[in-house]
Amino acid sequence: MSYPTPATSVKLVLLGEAAVGKSSLVLRFVSNDFQENKEPTIGAAFLTQKCTIGERTIKYEIWDTAGQERFASLAPMYYRNAQAAIVVYDITKPASFIKARHWVKELHEQAAKDITIALVGNKYDLVQDDDEGQGEREGVRKVSVEEGQNLAAEEGLLFYETSAKTSYNVNDVFIGIGNKIPEAASLASSPEQNNNEGRIDLSTNASSNGNRNLCSC
């Protein structure tokens, strides 16, 4: 058995209002797929995906949570020990942006101190003009780019607008997070059995040995 590039495990949690597209972003990232009618996440879902950034290989352990308000009290169970978080809102739903603001606060107060957070405004395809141009459809967008940027700047977050449907910017989110995760914070990694490059679906990955990075922060 060979021991190639050690993979860094990063525990990542997705938070945000119901139906903003959290599960869809994960599905796009993990399986490069999209489903028009995705069932709501009940409680939480867990998936993993490896991703190579330059020299490093990062193994994301993704905790995709349920978005409905009342599931929020379950969230602490999932973001505990998380090193990274993606807070998602729907750029056509102003209420989802308020929720996002709330989640950022909750993370800053309750999660690990040095957690890396990315703010993601999803469903960019909905505001895009049909004819491929750079322009935007009138009146569909309800949360401006500036609002997102401002919140990100205030709270020190990464910021992206994405579309899980067209896959626009989706990988960039994960790469951005990977770059920001300090190398030192994730040294506690063990060699991986599986040396496949790129994307590995969890279901084909059943043999991989556990190498959870139990960061004590």
């Binding site: 998936l47 905790w63 409905q68 009342r70 709330h102 909750e106 059943a206 556990g210």
Partner: protein, 926 residues
């Protein structure tokens, strides 16, 4: 009178319920009885007796043959049911026969038994009840049954339309073993139109149907069905598609609700037609996300049914509203059930079977996860140790099983089989299956060290449930056993020890922790979303939050309902706990000061305060700024919002001020003035002693506080009482003196010059007058006591930061304060020092300062500033620059007289003039 009777009855029942509550299950005995027989909670036991039962059906060929012993047990009569429970385990024979189905009750002739009754139903079932016991008791039971049947007659009309909705009736009528006319197949589920999931051949649907058909002939059907061992067996082997919905509702008892409340489902929808709600918004988001692979949910017919059922439920039970996972559960029900069936079934599911699963806090879900974990620990200690050692989050896997009743975890055909048992046996089914899943995958799971692999093993397992459990076995019979069958056997055999009692006990053990976790999360969230309250610190917020919920919860009739608003009665209790100035409140007094506060703070005008309302209100109540504090108070009475308070309002203010100040007026509490007086008295005394002993140098360390010194408490108390009475009298007099007549604005100049003001129209009770804010302030400021009331007295007697558990006794506190006064000698020492300084400055000849003329600067800074005070203690001049300019500008108009009373008047007048431009803080004394 009837109203009070009803009220008393309600109180008694509530009390009984509390006393009667089983600590473990949280259910009353009455509830337990209803739940275990699946009947509505409105039923109560009217009569009961030991009995043996004989069952015979006109349609059965061999029925219960005579060799079989009659089942023995207990028979109960309630308003709508005749209930029998087998003495041993109920599985042998039990029934809840609805009285509406009973056609005839007779005494069988020539019975050897002491007392027998033969009950015949419309479905041609003959139940012979052999009552065991004293004959008179049996007679009474028979009599009660007769009365109950008579009373029930008004409901019998509901039976016919109901029969038309039961597939069992249709089945029997079609096969001519029924006297009922059921010509059309009842509406039923979407499966009738869009095909039922799974292969009916493979599930031997036809055979199952035949078995049920036979059972119905012998043991009755729907509302008059007798449960025998065969009944349980037929449920466990899986229900036939067309009967599934009906058996589900029969097993869980939602059928009885549907019978009783015919038409209510449609009425709810009609009543709320075109209405919007938050729950509806959430439902809309998920309509296309509910079993999207099933054909019906790609069509508007399926989506519409789903929308209607979820919406109707959200109106019916707004406390639950809509929770994700309900969409999946209802979508699944609707495959086998009509909308109405699904609606009532959902009701029973949420209220009874899995309470708290879908509630706003989801405490039921969280609790059962904890229960599940501890059952794993108990039954599979090795696996549990492995899970904890590797920090595997078990609930990520198991939570969806419970919440969506396995419907989102395994292929639907299998999930429905589990649901069959679930509706029959209750929530323990969910635990038994969950434990079996872990057990059957135990070996593989013990080899994993991370959540990912753990989850994928189980995912994989669910996807292969149809495969052989023993693919390599040489025995073909063994080979044909599927993994799913193995799962059921493991769940219901091996884990049959997991019964309701064990689950209830485990729940009781973890309930508190779960509540604590939830409430601390909810608290964090709520506190974070509050409006800014500048006068209340973060720690105080947290205390107020706890007090709010503790009071709301302890006083609400429906405990644990998750109410988050406070009604007036609760509000009074809350305020009494933190305000020393609140004394016995009559909650029926609509004109009480607290009622006024409550109404004013009730922003939504809903007769209840949210935590935010309360907080905003309290924040203004304790505003440290004198002027703001007065205008806040003024606003309470300015009900029209035009800045004017009429005669009636003025009288009310005076009355309320009398109420608010009563602890001081009655000498129960001391205000700042009295406290200063006490300090002065002591300081004088100390000073005298110092002079006598010849030590007059103002040396820091030398001042000794007397330990044996006695203050004339009664005298000081009396002074204060008089001062408050005086203040009240002065207030009302001045308020009317300076109130403006409605029609003509008095000329300011005129007023200022003519101090007698005898021609003031306001003094005539027939002239409509009003008090505006500047005048109100002026009148208050004219009196030191009331000025101090708004500046500090009231605020200091309002203890937002009081810890939750201390019951406060204002009387005791007063004594403590009084006695403790000497101990806090710092202020006294300062005063003594001031006197010495003064003596030194005056060359030792000066008289001791007049200690009775104390004046206290109101406001937050009082204490610090006191140290800088002039030793003559006569007064304070504190004018902020803004005000100074204004004051100087108007100075010319102010007539200042020399007398001791006049300066206050002049101050009032200047306030009146300046007040027009609503300027603040003027304190002016000569």
């Amino acid at each position: 009178m009837a109203f009070f009777d009803a009220l008393r009855e309600k109180a008694v029942t509530t009390l009984n319920q509390v006393l009667d509550k089983n600590r473990n299950s949280g259910l009353t005995k009455h509830q337990q009885f209803c739940y275990s027989h699946h009947i509505p909670e409105t039923e109560t036991i009217l009569s009961e007796s030991a009995a043996e039962i004989g069952i015979k059906s006109d349609y059965s060929t061999d029925a219960y043959n005579d060799n079989l012993p009659f089942p023995q047990g207990r028979i109960y009569l309630t308003q709508s049911f005749l209930i029998f429970r087998d003495a041993f385990d109920r599985k042998n024979c039990s029934f809840s026969v609805h009285l509406s189905t009973i056609k005839k009750v007779e005494r069988p002739p020539g019975s050897d038994y002491g007392f027998a009754l033969m009950v015949s139903t419309y479905s041609k079932l003959h139940l012979t009840l052999y009552l065991v016991g004293i004959r008179s008791d049996s007679e009474r039971f028979a009599q009660q049954l007769k009365i109950a049947l008579k009373k029930n007659l008004v409901h019998v009309g509901k039976l016919q339309p109901f029969i038309q909705t039961c597939y069992s009736e249709y089945l029997l009528a079609k096969n001519k073993v029924s006297t009922e006319k059921v010509e059309h197949a009842p509406q039923g589920g979407l499966g009738l139109v869009f095909k039922f999931p799974g292969d009916p051949k493979e599930s031997r649907d036809k055979t199952k149907m035949k078995l049920w058909f036979d059972l119905f002939r012998v043991d009755g059907r729907n509302l008059s069905l007798v449960r025998t061992p065969l009944f349980y067996k037929l449920v466990r082997v899986g229900l036939p598609n067309r009967l599934r919905g009906e058996i589900w509702e029969l097993c869980c008892g939602s059928m009885y609700l549907r019978l009783d409340y015919q038409g209510e489902y449609n009425k709810i929808l009609e009543d709320h037609k075109d209405q919007k709600s938050f729950a509806i918004e959430e439902i809309e988001k998920d309509l296309n996300r509910s079993l999207p692979e099933y054909a019906a949910y790609q069509s508007s017919q399926g989506i519409e049914r789903l929308r209607r059922v979820l919406t109707a439920y959200s109106w019916k039970n707004p406390d639950v509203g809509y929770c994700q996972a309900m969409n999946i559960v209802v979508a699944a029900m609707l495959i086998y059930m009509s909308e109405e069936q699904a609606f009532w079934c959902l009701n029973v599911l949420c209220d009874r079977i899995v309470p708290g699963y879908y509630s706003k806090t989801m405490y039921g879900t969280l609790l059962d996860q904890k229960v599940f974990e501890s059952l794993v620990q108990k039954t599979m200690p090795m696996l549990w140790e492995h899970i904890t050692k590797n920090d595997i989050q078990l609930s990520v896997v198991s939570l969806p099983w419970f919440l969506s009743l396995y419907l989102s975890s395994m292929p639907l055909v299998f999930a429905f089989r589990i649901l069959d048992v679930f509706f029959l046996q209750g929530p323990k089914t969910l635990f038994q299956v969950a434990l079996a899943v872990l057990k059957l995958n135990g070996e593989a799971l013990l080899n994993t060290e991370d959540d990912g692999t753990f989850i994928s093993i189980i995912k994989q397992y669910f996807l292969t449930l149809h495969e052989s459990a023993h693919p390599n076995s040489p025995n073909p019979k063994f080979r044909s056993i599927t993994r799913f069958q193995e799962l059921l056997v493991t769940a219901f055999r091996e884990f049959s020890v997991i019964d309701e009692e064990m689950i209830n006990n485990t729940r009781a053990k973890h309930r508190d922790t779960i509540y604590q976790n939830i409430s601390s999360f909810v608290k964090r969230t709520e506190l974070r979303n509050l409006p800014r309250t500048t006068n209340i610190s973060q720690e105080t917020l947290s205390l107020l939050y706890d007090r709010f919920y503790s009071v709301v919860e302890s006083l609400s009739v429906t405990k644990g309902s998750g109410t988050s608003v406070m009604d007036y009665k609760v509000f009074v209790e809350f305020m009494s706990e933190i305000c020393d100035w609140i004394t016995d409140v009559n909650v029926d007094d609509e004109r009480h000061f607290l009622r006024r506060l409550f109404n004013h703070w009730d922003t939504e005008k809903q007769g209840a305060l949210t935590f935010t309302d309360l907080l905003v209100g309290l924040n203004s109540l304790v505003d440290p700024d004198l002027m703001t504090s007065m205008s806040n108070f003024f606003e309470l009475y300015d009900t029209k919002g035009d800045g004017k308070i009429d005669r009636e309002g003025i009288l009310q203010i005076s009355e309320d001020l009398l109420y608010i100040t009563s602890p001081w007026k009655d000498g129960v509490l001391f205000d700042g003035i009295t406290k200063a007086n006490i300090e002065n008295v002591i300081a004088d005394e100390v000073y005298k002693k110092q002079v006598e002993s010849g030590n007059t140098s103002p040396d820091q360390s030398e001042i000794q506080l007397p330990s044996d010194f006695q203050v004339d408490r009664d005298k000081l108390e009396q002074q204060q009482v008089e001062r408050y009475l005086q203040a009240a009298a002065t207030f009302i007099q001045r308020a009317f003196e300076y109130a403006q007549p409605e029609e003509e604005e008095l000329l300011i100049k005129e007023l200022a010059i003519d101090n007698s003001i005898s021609h003031n129209a306001a003094l005539n009770p027939n002239t409509p007058v009003y008090l505006n804010l500047p005048t109100f302030r002026m009148v208050v400021l004219a009196d030191e006591t009331y000025e101090l009331l708004f500046g500090s007295t009231l605020r200091e007697a309002t203890h937002l930061e009081r810890p939750l558990d201390t019951k406060f006794d204002p009387i005791r506190n007063l004594r403590d304060m009084f006695d403790g006064l000497l101990a806090d000698g710092r202020k006294v020492a300062t005063k003594v020092r001031l006197r010495m300084d003064s003596r030194a400055a005056n060359g030792g000849g000066g008289a001791p300062p007049n200690s009775s003329n104390a004046s206290i600067k109101s406001g937050a800074k009082r204490e610090e500033e006191e140290e800088d005070q002039d030793d003559d203690d006569l007064g304070v001049i504190s004018i902020d620059d803004n005000d100074k300019d204004l004051l100087l500008a108007t100075e010319a108009q102010v007539v200042v007289k020399e007398s001791t009373e006049k300066p206050r008047i002049s101050r009032m007048e200047s306030e009146k003039i300046i007040g027009k431009s609503d300027q603040n803080l003027i304190e002016f004394e000569t």
